[in-house]
């Protein structure tokens, strides 16, 4: 059985895998966090607590799907669907292996940026339609944070695009034959990493949903499967950012041939997923204004300088 | 090679433009007016893209980018005005702002 780009089988497999991985990450995160904090974590359901995810899902599916009467029903229902849709759509352009992927797109990078910018609507609509002041505050924060960090994310990518001369992610991977881009584009890599965390509003940049301040932010009013979609959407975002870092800066599926390419891809992404979880365990949350000024006053100039220097080096060689 | 009649693309742009025009003329809420203006701008961008495709040139896309920039600047200023207007008059009704009558 060979996998081909765009075949129904491939699409199904990719879709299934990422969703399962994202769901499993809930368990992985809890286990890893507890290891780092010298606890045990969930280990009761199934071997090593592996079935904890299943238990969670059963709980979430059977819970009452409550829509508050004061909410704007249309947008309230739409909001969680948007985040799932855009993130799953983003996976469409990611090349998981030499011939594994959903589509070949010449504007892959742009597509992912477009989807990321549409993702902002999810949190904004969720907060706005809830008609709850904490939710509104959270979505205001989310909107500003995501719109801002999208900018640096896009600009930090452009160094890679300039080096490979293409927006096509597969071409970008193939261009790293000689050297992975995180060496020449180290600054771009760091900025992308930070912006990626902010985009998926993971800790330490989970300001839109900071429990201690605004009581879970934009999804305060959500419950049941709609909450589940937000929840899984976040982990999907984590997977997406990790695979993007792998593709853009760490040579994608490339690696010594004793392992199949797809395994290399999974390994590299896994490292970054673990890194993000470690980040959650290690770093405290900054204040909102610190986050914004850090982005606009430090990351933006830095990414612009990075792009400028990259351009100059490319022109001179 | 796939072909689409030029006039169909242009008619689509025309319809969108006219819808935006109706929006500008009918709505009293200034946010809607601004949104309708965006529709009209977008329709003109579409016309440029159709022309670019017709001649197989990239110039049309360049013009579209210019329109995009214009729209971004326009929206930023327009929304700033809306906020200021709401702050001063506590309304979004443009009919209220008629101090400039002769």
């Amino acid at each position: 059985m060979t996998l081909e780009v765009g075949s129904g089988l491939t699409i199904g497999l990719i879709l299934g895998t990422v969703i399962v991985v994202a769901a499993m990450l809930i368990w992985v995160e809890r286990r890893l966090l507890s290891f780092w904090q010298e606890r045990l974590g969930p280990n009761r359901v199934g071997p090593f607590g592996l079935l904890q995810v299943v238990a969670d899902m059963i709980k979430i599916f059977t819970k009452e799907d409550w829509v508050p009467p004061f909410a704007d029903r249309f947008s309230f229902v739409l909001a969680p669907a948007i985040i799932m849709t855009v993130i799953l759509l983003s996976f469409a352009v990611i090349p998981f292996g030499p011939n594994v992927g959903v589509v070949e797109s010449n504007i892959g990078v742009l597509f992912i940026l477009a989807m990321a910018s549409l993702g902002a609507y999810s949190v904004m609509l969720g907060g706005l339609s809830s008609d709850n002041k904490y939710a509104l505050l959270g979505s205001l924060r989310a909107a500003a944070q995501m719109v801002s960090y999208e900018v640096f994310m896009g600009i930090s990518l452009l160094g890679v695009v300039a080096l490979s001369g293409s927006f096509n992610l597969r071409t970008i991977v193939e261009a790293q034959e000689g050297m992975w881009f995180f060496i020449p584009q180290f600054i771009g890599f760091v900025i992308f990493l930070i912006a990626g965390v902010a985009e998926s509003h993971r800790l330490p940049f989970d300001i839109p949903e900071a429990e201690q301040e605004i009581c879970a932010g934009y999804h305060t009013e959500y419950s049941g499967m709609k909450f589940g979609m937000f929840f899984v959407g976040e982990y999907l975002g984590l997977v997406l950012v990790s695979s993007l870092i792998t593709v853009l800066f760490f040579g994608g599926w490339m690696g010594p041939s004793f392992l199949p390419p797809i395994v290399w891809f999974a390994l590299k992404s896994g490292v970054f997923i673990a890194f993000f979880i470690l980040l959650r365990a290690a770093i405290p949350r900054p204040r909102y204004d610190q986050l914004m000024s850090y982005g606009w006053l430090f990351l933006l100039p830095l990414s612009l300088i990075n792009l400028l220097v990259t351009g100059a080096i490319i022109l001179s060689t | 090679m796939e072909t689409i009649p030029v006039e169909h693309g242009l008619i689509l742009a025309g319809i969108l433009f006219c819808l935006g025009l109706i929006g500008v003329l009918t709505r009293r809420n200034i946010v809607f007016v601004l949104m309708s203006l965006e529709v009209m701008l977008n329709a003109s961008g579409l016309a440029f893209i159709v022309a670019a495709t017709r001649w197989g040139h990239a110039e049309g896309q360049v013009m579209f980018l210019m329109i995009l920039t214009l729209a971004a600047a326009e929206v930023a200023v327009g929304l700033g005005l809306i906020i200021q207007m709401f702050r001063r008059y506590q309304t979004v009704d443009i009919s209220v702002l008629s101090e400039m009558k002769g």
Partner: protein
């Protein structure tokens, strides 16, 4: 692909029409996003993937987020929805409808005399960029100045 063009065109027209008759401003905004995304698809079909991506990123992803942001700040509640409904009588649509129909009728009249096909050739990012930073570099500079001016004036206007 050609079916996609007509499909996306139909979605764009319908959702734009929904924008101008909506009373709930958030819903109108969502329809507008849909319309813009449909237009982005039209761009893609017409062989302008770069324009399509920018339409989604800049128009749908940034400009309309600003709209939503402002709507959040204005915090228009249920009473504005009722007010909107009272403003939006059928009578309001008569004059603009007639005029737009006239305009569109003449436009269609002109268009019916054209009978040309456009062959879809994909014009990539490279060509557009080469033009932007070649012959149109002045336009790019002017656009950046325009954006800067917009930034400054928006900051000034929205300031308390």
């Amino acid at each position: 692909m050609i079916t996609l063009f007509y499909l996306a065109g139909a979605i764009a027209v319908i959702s734009t029409a929904a924008v101008i008759v909506q009373t709930n401003i958030v819903h109108a905004l969502l329809y507008l996003i849909l319309s813009l995304l449909a237009v982005a698809v039209v761009f893609y079909v017409l062989g302008a993937p770069f324009a399509a991506a920018l339409e989604a990123i800049v128009y749908a992803g940034a400009i309309l987020v600003l709209f939503l942001f402002v709507i959040m700040m204005l915090n228009l509640g249920q009473h504005t929805r009722d007010q909107e409904r009272s403003w939006l009588s059928a009578r309001m649509f008569v004059a603009p409808g007639i005029m737009s129909a006239l305009l569109l009728g003449q436009f269609l009249n002109v268009m019916s005399q054209i009978d040309q096909d456009m062959t879809i050739t994909r014009v990539g990012v490279m060509e557009v960029s080469a033009l932007l930073f070649g012959p149109y570099v002045l336009a790019v500079e002017l656009a950046s100045i325009l954006l800067l001016a917009g930034l400054v004036s928006a900051y000034h206007l929205a300031k308390k």
